[in-house]
Amino acid sequence: MKILVCIKQVPDMESRFKVDSAGTWYDTTELVWRMNEYDEYGVEQAVQLKEQTGGDLTVLCIGPDRVKETMKKALAMGCDRGAHVNDPDYATRDPFEIGAIIAEYASDKGFDVIFTGMQSQDRGSAQVGVLVSELLGIPAVTTIVDFVLEGSTVNVKRELEGGIKAKVSVTLPALFTCQLGLNTPRYPTLPNIMKAKKKELLSIPVQDLLKVAFRLETVSMQLPEKKGGGLVLEGDAGELADKLITILKEKTGVLAK
């Protein structure tokens, strides 16, 4: 069984974001980077599937050199090799270009299963996985919270609104986009981190794989205007608690005066 998992490196969402000088993306200079949360579930599912089938697992990531750090985590979690698509301009690419790069990479490799996150935490387009499947002409099931392989059939649960799930089955090859809570992503152990250093991490220039033109461009990126205008309280915990109790007494009926 040949498995591919696609991951993205994203900034920590608790960062204080600034707009870059071009005004079309966030400033990347002082950010802490990590694996897109949705992709952690993808990597875990891919590693479990590899363990179940004795398969071969490749992790792919598009981005500048720094994304190799995130790829090393995926290798330490159990991926066999990394394919780093070296692309300093990855942030300007639209979902169609990203999907086309991945599909071009995968086109001659005969993957039975491809995992992606259901979306990235920074862009949140939720398009790339589905576009890859359409480009490769294989079925895709999105937003999965359960994955069971039986023979060449996969039974999955798709998460719908309100906690309802749709049970669907699909015959491989197929692509799956992973939702939060699909499994419990493992923490890489120290021996596995050491082993991961010796695993193959191939770099491919993006020019070798990018053969389409973009369809979407960012005109501008902005911080949202503050509409909320709620009260912001700062200071010592005890004083804050006193202040909040006073406010709750004045503004709500939930505390006796």
Binding site: G163, A166, V168, G230, L244
Partner: protein, 305 residues
């Protein structure tokens, strides 16, 4: 301009977000027609033509079949925009339709500014204004971003449609959300734990505050996924929708899917170390503090009366 609005129905029932599609078309100043796979005994309120494929024939959601049905309507109507809700149906189907039409897709559109769609980035801490290269555009709309000033009462004019496409994905059935446990809908006060509470060991701290206030405790999704708290207590799109008198969000960033479940609360207090956390947008009071220090201090004072 003409928009094709993709309405949703599940097990024969129209989903509520259909009116948001109509509200969007109004705001964009666009004519529209509608599409739905459903039944003619349960149609959305709409003043126009709906292309209806019979759910009794096609069953529940099947990506390849629904895609083909939509493409047939596109050929006939030649819309400039195809508009979905950003839902488990919309984000699954929209990229397939966009791909077939070589169209650009705007995901989770929250607004239209000077004709350009605006979408969130980085958990709504940033916004992006986008432009498409293609003439036909596909959009998915953020839940709750567009709403009608006046509810529609009209019934649509129905045109039946058909296809013989088959899909490769087989629908086997639905699984209901686990039942039982607490009913957050009845609580007048809810104190919710987010990932920022730091661990399962700190849940009692949140429960203690809920108790001191005479309410129930809830949670954000990661807290439920990590099994610190049971699913019945999850607030948000894939959990409960609540509107208590007081909602206290402890270490919750305010992702759109969480906000969808609690933003109608009468009074919202957020406790967060990050002053920029998007929960600040809906909070009446944002307490910038570490929950581990602030919660015990607050509970102690409330207990002291």
């Amino acid at each position: 301009m003409k928009a094709l609005l993709i309405a949703e129905s599940r097990e024969g029932k129209v989903l509520g977000s259909c009116s948001e599609l109509v509200a969007f078309a109004q705001k964009a100043g666009s004519d529209s027609v509608m599409f739905m796979v459903g039944t003619d005994s349960n149609l959305p309120a709409y003043d126009g033509t709906i292309y209806l494929a019979d759910a009794a024939k096609y069953g529940e959601y099947n990506p390849a079949v629904h895609k083909q049905l939509i493409l047939d309507v596109v050929t006939k109507e030649k819309p400039d925009m195809i508009v979905f809700s950003h839902s488990s149906y919309g984000w699954d189907l929209a990229p397939r339709v966009a791909f077939a039409l070589e169209a650009a897709q705007f995901s989770e559109v929250a607004d239209i500014v000077d004709g350009d769609p605006v979408v969130p980035a980085c958990n709504s801490k940033l916004r992006r204004r986008l432009k498409a290269k293609s003439t036909v555009k596909v959009l998915t709309l953020q839940a709750g971003a567009f709403s009608l000033a006046e509810p529609i009462t009209a019934s649509p004019n129905v045109e039946k449609i058909d296809t013989d496409t088959a899909g490769k994905v087989t629908f086997l059935g639905y699984e209901e959300a686990p039942k039982g446990g607490v009913d957050l809908g009845k609580a007048a006060i809810i104190v919710s734990a987010g990932r920022g509470v730091g661990g399962k060991d700190n849940i009692p701290m949140v429960a203690a505050l809920a108790k001191a206030l005479g309410g129930e405790y809830g949670a954000s999704r990661p807290v439920v996924d990590a099994e610190w708290v049971e699913h019945a207590r999850q607030v948000g799109t894939t959990g409960q929708t609540v509107s208590p008198k007081l909602y206290v969000a402890c270490g919750i960033s305010g992702a759109i899917q969480h906000l969808a479940g609690m933003k109608k609360s009468e009074f919202i207090v957020a406790i967060n170390t990050d002053k920029d956390a998007p929960i600040g947008e809906v909070a009446d009071v944002l307490v910038v503090a570490d929950v581990k220090q602030f919660l015990p201090a607050l509970t102690e004072r409330l207990q002291a009366g």
